[in-house]
């Protein structure tokens, strides 16, 4: 076992799978010689050469469009968008082609590609470098949207994403890139996509979070458990779409109370979908309205004010108490 941060863990997954499968190709802006602006692809260029680790011209649509052609020819491209804020130029290719190649041809053609992108705030970055737009991608049928929360699941989910037969948008919480280390097993570990993980079991309240929100949520959960001598069930969503609502619904049936924590703006996000699914399948088990801790429906503020808007441990803890006290 090695203690790795998330950057190293994703790098490990890419290295492993490139060694396993010569069809795996990495491409993007500055991913080669430079190893990526966050160093996620560091060393791959030396190990696997410029044919497999491609420094592309600066064009997001082309990176994804070319990846589609590569995937249809049997390669397994892993494309990097340098920041999620620049990925929108590639959405016509993702929505218009990659996501629907399977449906368009009734499975005759598929499009196995991974679109990696660092996302999220709290890194004191300039404009366009701090958004959480997972919901935008999650609304596209045919796309799997994955968000790891720590080094270990990042590695295991990345291996699954590369092997998945369809396009996967792999959103990496850059705030968590180097924030902490975890033991990552040396042997191969693959985590199935489309499955949430019950991080800790509990009976009094269900809390759902994902990505960079997992850390402050875990702290708030610990705080309230101790303060009230209760147990809280914490679920890490891991895959945003297609959503594993069953795990959440089963938990809510047991606890009767739920809080969802989301870094993205409040409306039309994954948290709204979670509330809707609970409404569909567990409404009569609820003893309180489902609580939501989210950002606000504002354009992401510059980093001077950013932290006031992002959910933090205190705001999450207050929401847990309000839901428990309802």
């Amino acid at each position: 076992m090695a203690k790795l941060n998330m950057v190293q863990a994703i790098n490990l997954a890419l290295t492993e799978e490139m060694a396993n499968d010569e069809n795996v190709i990495v491409l993007g802006e500055d991913v080669g010689v430079d190893g990526g602006v966050f160093r996620v692809t560091d060393g791959l260029h030396d190990k696997f050469g410029e044919k497999r680790v491609i420094d592309t011209p600066l064009a997001e649509s082309a990176i994804v469009g070319a990846s589609i052609g590569m995937a249809m020819a049997g390669l397994r491209p892993v494309a990097e968008m340098q920041f999620s804020g620049f990925s929108y130029l590639s959405i016509p290719q993702l929505e218009g082609n990659a996501s629907r190649m399977r449906a368009r041809t009734m499975g005759k053609w598929t499009c196995p590609l991974v679109l990696r992108m660092p996302y999220g705030g709290a890194v004191r970055a300039l404009e366009h470098h701090s958004e959480s737009r997972e919901a935008m991608y999650a609304t596209i049928p045919g796309v799997t949207v994955v968000i790891p929360s720590g080094p270990r699941n990042a590695r295991a989910l990345m291996l699954a994403a590369i092997r998945d037969p369809d396009p996967v948008v792999f959103m990496e919480p850059k705030r968590s890139y180097r924030a902490f280390r975890e033991e990552v097993p040396e042997e191969e570990e693959v985590r199935e996509l489309g499955k949430a993980q019950v991080v800790q079991a509990g009976t009094d309240l269900t809390v759902v979070a994902w990505g960079a929100m997992m850390r402050p949520t875990l702290k708030a959960v610990d705080l309230i458990q101790k303060k009230r001598n209760i147990t809280i069930e914490l679920i890490d969503l891991l895959t945003i779409a297609p959503m594993d609502a069953d795990t959440i619904v089963e938990s809510v049936k047991k606890t009767g109370r739920c809080v969802v924590v989301q870094e993205a703006p409040r409306s039309f996000g994954a948290s709204s979908e979670i509330v809707a699914r609970i409404n569909d399948d567990a409404l009569l088990y609820l003893e309180a309205p489902v609580g939501r801790v989210t950002n606000y429906d504002v354009v992401t503020p510059y980093f001077g004010r950013e932290m006031m808007y992002l959910p933090d441990e205190q705001r999450i803890a207050r929401s847990l108490e309000e839901t428990l006290d309802f």
Partner: protein, 363 residues
Amino acid sequence: MPLKKIGDFSISYLQILNEKGVVDAKLEPKLSDDELHKLYRTMLLARETDARMLKLQRQGRLGTFGPGTGQEAAFTAPISAASDEDWIVGTFREPGARLFRGEPLSQYLAYFNGYEEGNTFDPAKRVLPMSVIVASQTLHAVGLAYAMQYKGEKDSAVITFLGDGATSEGDFHEALNFASVWQAPVVFIVQNNQWAISTPRKMQTRAKTIAQRAVAYDMPGIQVDGNDPLAMYQATKEALDRAHAGEGPTLIEAVTYRLMMHTTADDPKKYRSEDEEKEWWKKDPLTRFRVYLENKGLLDEKSHAALATEIKAYIDDEVKKFEAATDWPPDISFDHVLGTRHPSIERQRTAFLANLNKEAANG
């Protein structure tokens, strides 16, 4: 300091078979009789397919489609210059390209009648499904070409089609640039049919030619009489030879004309004159190709009539086949969202089928 000239660029125009069917013997490509016959047959099949589809559409037996009438040389002859190892990445207005590679017409019809079953041509034939988002397919072509290079398939290049309107899209320029930087084996063939729905070619770009876009990306670019099947064959052949030899991409501008509407939902009278259409009918690729074949002794009145009868019978059969296939399951869309079945999507399938049953019960 005086200005120093650091580059000199020019664009050539290629025509081998003129409007009257007169061939430039010095430039005439050496196609076998069989090759010439297959090319003419496919062009005629594409023309007759348009005519039949238009009838079917007007009778409510087919959905909207975009006829390729007038462009048969521009989209069919390039495929006659390719081998089966070369890929075809096109749009929705190159029936001749697809038919040449052997796509059954019944599938083509099913596509335009709103069924995904029509987009299931055998992937081993190396024809990508039709792309509707203008210019987006040019990038797929570049990625495919990169994959061919990577896999060492030296005999495989990619032919990609787009229209004059598509040359205004960013994806087209990104594709040219990526192909150039990667020296990818791609042949870009612009079907410059003068009209992007109602927008004339001169409103897409001030550039004198579309072919000159190649100059900025440091690749060969040529303007070709797109209604001349021999010139389209020759230009594509040379571009494919370069691509196979590892010499990178080429841009071909085929100057042609969309003789019919953009799609069956469009009325060209709104934006262009019938005189203009008449002028282009005089440059019809089929007429001149027929004269050429007759002059070579490969076709006469009788054999042409036999060919027309054979094509009509083929179309009749394929229309029958297409209309007989009605047992397509309604819930097929749920099968192909993702390769891995997901419970929430499967539950929606159940609800969808239950709803259909209720509607059926309610008559």
